[in-house]
Symmetry: C2
Subunit: 426 residues, 2 copies
């Protein structure tokens, strides 16, 4: 059944479409932290961050259903829900970050952010880290070194090494090294035809293995950005909306204040909503230099879905739950690390955490293939997670924020079993 579904998929959608796991899942139902496949098997979802407040949360579903039955137009007419949402959203940021554009995807948000930085600085040079991903548009996809277009990325892009807390020395050393890389890239761009416009980072370096960086580690680099007249763009698609437990936003956790914030995936619990938040000055510069309208962006249904997700996040104290359960689960991982030598490093914040797998703790040699086998083994045992990081050897555990201790217990006991059964050879 699954194989013929895969063949049909390739016939209709084309080749080279990635799926998760060696045996891809045909999911048919979701509820809270649970997913079911077509054969009725149940899976604990320890991976999906898009259903931020839980799969099919009834309040979000109701908000979508009710608004879809009432009105769905666009922002060339006026509508209160969008403004109610943007007001609450902006109130959660530093005072200067007070205006927003809603889009349909995080990619669209980053695509706008690049133009905002250009409008503000008159320059186009962008600095990003070397193993990140910021989205799929022509302009934004070039910012991923893992994803170079034919002919390579544009000459206006400079890649700097992402911090690596497991191998990169002390936090102070990491901060100094990152600032040096950024400063060098700024100088290089300023000497080019492009000039330096912005540093765009995920403030949690999520795709790069969420290195353990104390607040302030990035301060010197950000200071160099601002001294050079550039902007800091914080891509909050992954760490935002309370995912890190202690702070609503990744940049707040990192102790920096961005000039532009971009939002995506978890924003409306799966409804296609993204957004850009910035200052009145940057918004005015953007609107002065570029024409921008997004037909679906901020429409009444999208706004209702985003607002309901926001309300559930707060009303159900999910950030607090995220903090508590995340700490509990990481403690459990540390206990497993005493038993399983493959676990080289346990780290993370809130409900975005994991364990870096190594062939040898002393040499810290990445156990990349092993980590893949573990992710597949977990899937076969009914627990969904995945891997990421510079060497793709870090287990990525990032469940809906309604994940509870009992779910962490199931994940940990299953991981204990799978680690015990998976040969550590490569």
């Amino acid at each position: 059944m699954s194989e013929s579904l895969l063949q049909r998929r390739e016939r209709l959608l084309g080749p080279r479409l990635p799926t998760f796991y060696k045996q891809p899942l045909n999911l048919v139902r979701g509820e809270d932290v649970w997913l079911w496949d077509a054969e009725g098997n149940r899976y604990l979802d320890c991976y999906n961050n898009v259903p931020h407040v839980g799969h099919c949360h009834p309040r979000v579903v109701s908000a979508i259903a009710e608004q879809a039955a009432t009105l769905n137009t666009h922002t060339r007419y006026l509508h209160n829900t969008l403004l109610d949402y943007v007001e609450q959203l902006c109130d959660s940021f530093a005072d200067a970050l007070s205006q927003a554009i809603l889009t349909c995807t995080g990619s669209e948000a980053n695509d706008i952010a690049l133009r905002m930085a250009q409008a503000r600085t008159g320059k186009t040079g962008i600095i990003v880290t070397d193993h990140t991903y910021h989205g799929n548009t022509t302009a934004v996809s070039q910012l991923s070194r893992t994803n170079a277009p034919p002919g390579g990325a544009g000459g206006h892009i400079r890649f700097v090494p992402a911090p690596d807390s497991y191998r990169g020395g002390t936090a102070e050393q990491i901060g100094v090294a990152f600032a040096a890389s950024v400063s060098e890239a700024i100088a290089d761009l300023e000497a080019s035809e492009y000039g330096f416009s912005a540093l765009l980072i995920c403030p949690y370096f999520a795709n790069e293995g969420f290195p353990d960086l104390p607040s302030g580690t990035l301060a010197t680099a950000i200071s160099a950005v601002h001294t050079a007249g550039g902007l800091l763009i914080a891509d909050e698609v992954q760490p935002g909306f309370g995912r890190l437990g202690s702070h609503l936003w990744g940049h707040q956790f990192a102790g920096v204040v961005p000039d532009i914030v971009t939002l995506g995936k978890p924003m409306a619990n799966g409804h296609p909503v993204g957004g850009v938040v910035t200052s009145t000055d940057t918004m005015a510069a953007f609107r002065e230099s570029f024409r921008y309208f997004n037909t679906f962006g901020g429409n009444p249904v999208s706004a209702a879905a985003a607002l309901a997700t926001w309300q559930v996040l707060h009303d159900e104290s999910l950030m607090q739950n995220c903090f508590d359960v995340g700490a509990y689960a990481r403690d459990g991982l540390k206990v497993l690390a005493q038993k399983h030598d493959c676990i080289g490093n346990v780290r993370g914040e809130g409900l975005f955490f994991g364990a870096e797998m190594v062939l040898d703790r002393k040499l810290k040699k990445p156990a990349t293939a092993f980590c893949e086998r573990v992710a597949n083994g977990m899937r076969n045992e009914g627990v969904l997670l995945n891997r990421l990081g510079i060497n793709y050897n870090t287990l990525k555990i990032r469940p809906p924020l309604s994940f509870k201790r009992e779910h962490a217990d199931l994940m940990l006991s299953t991981l204990d079993k799978v680690l015990g059964e998976t040969e550590l050879k490569s």
Copy 2:
């Protein structure tokens, strides 16, 4: 009330955000072809094409509500609804157009189409018409001359004049002139560092005033495109999904077969869905050259919304209705033209039609400001339409496809009144 809502909107969303009409509408409810504002006033919607099968169509709303309550994930898991939809969609095109990617917006679709053409041709030069609009991403927004970024559009873009059936001579002359412009642009691109990749057109030239072009008018131009090794991209965001009454797709109406088709706005009746349809060869070339994944694109709820819209379109024979009511309404406009000298030309297809307003029928001098006053006058009388075209002097009538003769009668009688009351001075 409306004024303070406008001020709040500017405070939260920033300056220069366009609204429709001098007195913007605060809409709160929609049903079929009707809209209501916060004060309870009812409006006949003769403008919105996004609610393709009628505002808040109960079958589409149910499909969204039911799927949102059941499962909403992404295409790295398998799901039948997306495949069911893509299969039916592709069956409506020429045989070679057999694979699709679903996105969230038409902008994303065009952004992909440009890369598909690059992957296929190894070149990047794009030809577009000079008053069109294809979307809002950094790459796609440059294709609009009305929308130039700072420093102007990229050197890889060539603009050719859009056909004008009211002023441009016979259909044969228009076809020859368009082919000559396209051939010249091809030669110019081929002599440049970019080479010629694709001609991207709305096959109905919707934004340019939907000139009246018999099938085959574009054949010589398209032949030149293919002879030069380039691709034809048909942007069906406006004319597609039966809008023209006689054909499901604008390119079928125009009598051409594109290499890539892009889809957007009406695809899921307001749910954020867009798409790209192409051949297996072009899809394979794209997947070979570029990495692309869209988190929300083709998710189960988006697929269910698109499938329900497609089913309603067919089950309720809305294309036939569109053909009938469109012809009836255009006949009514022609009757009005006997009475009102300002109507220089009545044209259109199905439920995308209008009347070009002129100060003088002989000189065909565009009555641009008059046309704007008429659109505002209609709004004040409870009928929503707008204007477009090279000179923004063409009334744009483009209602949901469930628009009936009685609605056309109301639109026509209101237009008769407003034309009689609006001074024809500029």
